[in-house]
Assembly symmetry: D3
Homo-oligomer: 172 residues x 6
């Protein structure tokens, strides 16, 4: 199976914050943003695998900067690493207030997807070939995030997650 | 500030999976479920705090059982612990196929919210008083999840997260 | 066919009033509430019958208390009585203003559903066994409401609706 | 206050049944139709009163003919009678299957609205002047329907509803 | 194939401008109105052809009068001329502010549709028989608009569009 | 006022075709695509002007290739030329079937927007500086399209539209 680059899966999505997307403070609801990130990331995973994909997990996401009604939200997603039948995607979110001309980073997240064949069984996907320094860094750290996901889902014992464990036991 | 019990924040939400909520396999999209969980959990946090609340973070969520078009989804959310101005909520999700009479647990997640006063500044909320064994367990473990959130958000060093660290350094 | 209790069909639904749900006064539209009540009641009827159900009728509903944008609306539905292939459900609606901590009853209604088999033909459902005093009262009065429905639909002559007629001819 | 005719309030609305409007049988949900009827009728009441209106009640509605996905639904609403600050509207619903060229009447209903002034207080509206035989019949029978509404809402005793009572005590 | 009149395809649609339909000025978005016009016009073309129809083109539309949140929008569509397998429809749009009692024309447009048979192949439709002076005028000018559409789509050379060319080369 | 380049306004939007976006053939409705194009183009015009913008017109659009349910639709918009207070934008639309790995151009269109100041009055925008050959071609031909728009809106006589007229009167 031929390796594919991260850039081949790059997906850019632009959304406008409408009234029904906001909470009583007229800021974008966290849950709505999680929804948009899922769509952008799923499309990136589909581009990498040319398969139907389903969301397998979303990593811890924190919300710092409120995004206001009427703002433009830009989401950029790409695959960071493939693990047999699953793909980790990295999503970055920016928000722009057009009349003020400001654009700030609002958020980032990792979503994981599983590729399915026509019988809805998991199927192997092409490996990811990281190219830029940033992509190589994401590729490396994907292993640690995967161990954390498995530990949190109760599918891996902490002591069997060496990369993850190293963070907590390093010298000091 | 008087303590409040977990049951006072209990929120039950029922949703029907409609065509626009599904992916091409006619299963509920992961992102849509994250959205519903955010609304159920936010209402629970509002019941606890009697304040406007905004989503601060969502913890790692994994998706195991697909939820089908036409199924009934029941979400149950309650506050597990309050930390000064923030509240952790626990959400459980069940899915029912009415004609088959089956009801299975599809998912669970932790969302954290911050309470805001009328100037949109964080404001202290009532402490949570756990009552059942399950609630006490959730209350205890909330500390460890909070440390993980802070470590993942780069706001706490792993070595300053003793409860979390204990998991990785125990015995061996 | 084994009788089922009302509590087995209990359905609780929570909704948040969003901008698109409101009229120009920023209060929930009556028609939107009728829609939510239909969904909550249909789920209750499905729980009772384990069948696909379709709405057969909605009884007179009056709207007294306006429900405001941002309020939490809680709907509670349960089956009151089964008549061969149809079920009457009772829906109560409460509205909460979280920051004010008020919760008032906004509304109540009766919806009737017909259970269908796989060929979309009406099919017999389990009888309802009322247990509490309230449930017994609902069970009894269901007969009178059914006669009114049939009279209003032109399917029953007023003189053939004894329970209903008694209301108008009592004493005098 | 000058009388207005029924035709001045005539409102025609056309909707297409989309996937999210349907139940698992791919027929239009009853609750969605109740929602559309509310909008059509509210516009008719606004045309009559030139005021903001809010739904006061909906009378008993029964659903006979299923309306299919892809069908065109035509709603026609007009005011039948004005009572001081409220207006009764009559809504008829037809459904067309364009490729079959069939158009059948699916439904009819009565919704009542209250007109509000700028302080959101009920305000008097123009009387309705019925013109056709059909409009005169609707105008007359509006009184009886109004008594039924009041009796059902517990605001009028059956014995104080003479037009309504006459139906049950006639002859026999 | 029997000719059909324009009035047979007449379609009236009424919409209420809701918060999610508006831009940051709380006026109806141009794109949303284009969407509503497409639905009204498609229904008119279905009425004429009794076929499934798909949008083939929309002619130049300009937006003059802003339509405000809460306004009632009335769309009226009818077929102006049939060309073998396609139909041109004319849509007029009015906007009413009910409390002010004003109704102005907001817009007009021409959409063209193609009729499809069950294999999704274009199929011949009945000719249109114009009756009123206005309908005859629309029928005549449809030819020129069609030539413009074909020239703009690069399917016809300007010199082969005599009716269109005449406009630019007349007298001077 | 400093000129801005076309690339500064580049807006990429990705949408997934969901059930409610489709017609009975399960292809994307033309009207829905017109809606998405309006949003993408409005964001591009906002990026160029840093102002609130409103849709002034949409040019003739033709629909050739059907876009299927589940496909990914990519819209790319940029400003082609500024005329005092208005901006013409060019939108291209591609559709991808991920599992087949095909990506074809589905559509293109020109939308024009007017920039508004805080009093909602039209306000001058920066001139556009075309850079690539393609951008220069779009810049040149924008004049002819503008004349056509004005002629079609009845605001310019054909004989006063020299660039447009040239097309029809060129020797041949």
């Amino acid at each position: 199976m031929t390796e594919k680059t991260a850039i081949e899966s790059l997906t850019i999505m632009t959304e406008l914050v409408l009234p029904n997307d906001t909470n009583v403070l007229f800021n974008l609801r966290g849950g709505k943003l999680l929804h948009w990130m899922d769509i952008a990331a799923a499309i990136a995973a589909q581009k990498h695998s040319n398969r139907t994909v389903v969301t397998a997990s979303v990593d811890n996401v924190s919300f710092e900067n409120p995004i206001k009604l009427g703002n433009v939200v830009t989401l950029q997603a790409k695959v960071t690493r493939a693990f047999n039948t699953s793909m980790e995607t990295f999503i970055e979110v920016w928000t722009e207030d057009m009349t003020e001309g400001t654009k700030i980073k609002a958020n980032e997240a990792y979503y994981t997807f599983v590729a399915l064949d026509k019988e809805r069984k998991p199927i192997k996907v092409a490996p990811l070939l990281p190219q830029t320094i940033e992509e190589k860094h994401q590729y490396e750290s994907a292993l640690r995030r995967r161990q954390l996901r498995l530990v949190l889902a109760g599918k891996l014992k902490p002591e069997d997650a060496p990369e993850l464990k190293a963070i907590f036991t390093s010298e000091n």
